[in-house]
């Protein structure tokens, strides 16, 4: 029974997606019905994940599946964040499609499949399973980004993402081959044992393999020097998909990165110096790009790069012996809440065909729609890391863990980058509150998305009280 419990979230998302496809065949289930069903299925999967949260750390069906999946508290919390991201992105999508054309019935189905792939990614304990999970996630996301073939911007975004994603996938496969040559197995458990006996640096194929695999994941995580694709792809994707990519994909990828580095403390130790520089360059490159943007979506994409930098600090600071992933998961949750909140608000404020997307379009929003402006300000302040929001606590935990691991300079650079990022977050708040409105901000009548925005805004404060043991 315990085995079934552990994979139940996978079944809920995968079977949910198939159910949604079948339901779309009925005439009575049209746009509204499918949207509500998609949101409901994400909520259901979330509660399933919550219900199995205390089922312990083990490898489900170790006899049949040969230990290819493994669950732990870390993977389960990551799964919770992913499914919550899916839920709020689905709400944003519902609002988005009441104002925009181009709805396809397969939209929520692809989102559920992507979530299923992400859950598999966090649980995978073997390199080939991991690759298949990566492909399940990526294929679904490619289709979500580029489903509207008539739009040139979508096509450009999906082409860039697909090409570079395929490139990263090739790097990953090459790395798997090298690791197999070095360890004669693709299972994490065996690789751990091999590194324990032969050592990591004295086994060249393992070093080369880990190098290529980490490159592939750093690409997916939008870390320097693989960050250039992010801005165009996030800008070209539909708003709710951008929100989903920025939060859920990032959670899954960082969970995998942590799982992979945790294979052996030797492996992590060999990478700490490089990750240090990658973290610093990612933060500052992201900040430079974000400061130059005039489009809100592009700014959020660039700020996503900066947040990847903070998460890499958390990777540098983790210690294999006492790894809980607490700081990282808290940061991911805090970042996801704020980002999803902004995208949920934008999905109804942007209006028909994503009309309002630049900073200037939101001038004087506070006069016309005070609640929306207040919520957006809360999310921006949380991203900037102002107390008492969740973003502040997230940054606090990460920087404290960097201090604890002895990386004082990294912690200080993190604080500097955080101060730099105030520039573009506060700019929007100033525009919303201290300028006269030029627009009446008329949007279609809807209830779910504004409600979701308010719930997220409350959560930004609520989760900051949740204590994390470093």
């Amino acid at each position: 029974m315990q085995d079934l419990m552990a994979i139940l979230p996978l079944v809920a998302t995968g079977a949910g997606a198939i159910l949604l496809m079948l339901a779309a065949a009925f005439e009575s289930f049209r746009k509204e019905g499918i949207s509500i069903m998609g949101i409901g299925l994400f909520a259901f999967a979330f509660f399933v994940q919550l219900a199995v949260a205390n089922s312990g750390s083990f490898a489900p069906y170790s006899g049949v599946l040969n230990g290819m999946l493994a669950t732990s508290t870390f993977t389960k919390v990551a799964g919770l964040i992913i499914l919550a991201c899916g839920f709020f992105s689905a709400i944003a999508a519902q609002a988005y499609f009441t104002q925009n054309k181009g709805f396809v019935l397969e939209f929520y189905c692809l989102m559920l499949f992507a979530a299923c792939g992400m859950l598999l990614l966090t649980m995978a304990a073997e390199l080939i399973t991991l690759f298949i999970a990566l492909e399940i996630m990526s294929l679904a996301i490619y289709a979500l980004v580029g489903y509207d073939r008539k739009s040139v911007r979508r096509s450009e975004a999906v082409l860039k993402y697909l090409m570079l994603g395929a490139f990263a996938g090739a790097f990953y496969i090459m790395g798997t081959v090298f690791i197999y040559a070095g360890a004669k197995s693709t299972s994490f458990r065996v690789i751990t044992d091999v590194i324990a006996t032969t050592g990591f640096l004295s086994n060249p194929p393992l070093v080369g393999g880990a190098f290529l695999i980490l490159f592939a994941f750093l690409f997916k995580a939008a870390a320097f020097p693989f960050h250039a694709w992010v801005v165009d792809v996030y800008d070209g994707a539909p708003l709710p998909v951008t929100g989903f990519m920025a939060t859920a994909v990032k959670t899954a990828v960082f969970a995998v990165l942590a799982n992979f580095l945790m294979i052996s403390s030797d492996l992590q130790a060999a990478w700490v110096d490089y990750l240090f520089y990658i973290a610093v360059f990612t933060m500052f490159a992201g900040n430079l790009i974000a400061i130059a943007q005039n489009n809100l979506k592009r700014m959020l994409a660039a700020s996503g790069i900066v947040h990847s930098g903070y998460l890499i600090i958390a990777l540098v600071a983790i210690q294999a012996k006492t790894f809980t992933g607490g700081a990282m998961l808290f940061y991911l949750a805090a970042y996801a809440l704020a980002t999803l909140g902004i995208f949920a608000a934008l999905s109804y404020l942007a209006g028909e065909e994503e009309r309002r997307v630049s900073f200037d379009d939101f001038k004087g929003l506070a006069r016309v729609r005070p609640y929306s402006a207040a919520c957006i300000s809360i999310f921006l302040l949380s991203m900037a890391g102002i107390p008492p929001t969740a973003g502040f606590m997230g940054k606090f935990y990460i920087i404290a863990s960097a201090f604890q691991a002895g990386h004082v300079s990294l912690a200080i650079l993190g604080i500097v980058s955080s101060i730099l990022s105030m520039w573009y977050y506060l700019r929007l708040i100033v525009l919303m509150y201290f300028r006269e409105p030029e627009d009446r901000f008329e949007v279609a009548e809807m209830t779910l998305a504004p409600l979701g925005t308010i719930i997220l805004a409350i959560c930004v404060f609520a989760i900051s009280f949740y204590p994390v043991v470093l």
Binding site: N66, M68, F113, C116, A140, G146, F178, P204, P205
Partner: protein, 182 residues
């Protein structure tokens, strides 16, 4: 560190091993030639022909790696199915003859060359520094062996492949046909 085998250790040319070695060298030449044509061809159809040659050479590698089934599948799937599909796509899309390139960045050429050289150097260093040992139990690469492996040790992967194919089909329908609108 391994010392590279000296030229005198090589098998005689007119022995079984020597002939196999020559075939192996031919496969390398075929793969590299194909890859070179694919990368430098001006026209898309010629690049595709280069890929076909390259894939055929790779099939030869699989044969030498003791996996005749993989070699067969490489020819059947990559040379047969995938390249034919690409040629259909080229015919249906009717790309323009002349190659259009954006304004060339002065840095991109040298930078690309440096990165390629670094990757090549890294791979060479890796190959030379490793003590390559044969696996204790060498697989014979039969269909039976692959089937047993897929349904026992890698059953999870086998199951998940079906999900990948399903998503690929849905994605293709959504992008190509615009999906079912509500």
């Amino acid at each position: 560190m391994n010392s590279p085998a000296s030229f005198m250790d090589a098998p005689a040319l007119f022995s079984a091993d020597g002939l196999l070695g020559i075939i192996f060298l031919i496969m390398i030449a075929v793969t590299l030639t194909g890859g070179f044509i694919a990368a430098t061809a001006e026209r898309l159809v010629r690049a595709l022909a280069g890929i076909v040659i390259c894939f055929t050479g790779v099939a030869g590698f699989y044969y030498f790696l003791n996996s005749p089934f993989m070699a067969m599948m490489q020819i059947l799937i990559y040379v047969g199915a995938i390249c034919i599909t690409i040629s259909f796509a080229i015919m249906l899309a009717a790309p323009e003859r002349t190659r259009k390139t954006g304004p060339a960045n002065l840095l991109s050429g040298p930078l690309g060359f440096i990165i390629a050289a670094l990757v090549f150097g890294g791979m060479c260093a890796l190959a030379l520094r490793t003590q390559w040992e044969p696996f204790a139990k060498s697989a014979t690469g039969t269909v039976r062996e692959i089937g047993i492996e897929l349904l026992t040790n890698h059953s999870m992967v086998f199951e998940l492949i079906s999900l990948v194919l399903l998503i690929a089909i849905i994605g293709a329908i959504v992008i190509a046909r615009g999906g079912r609108t509500g």
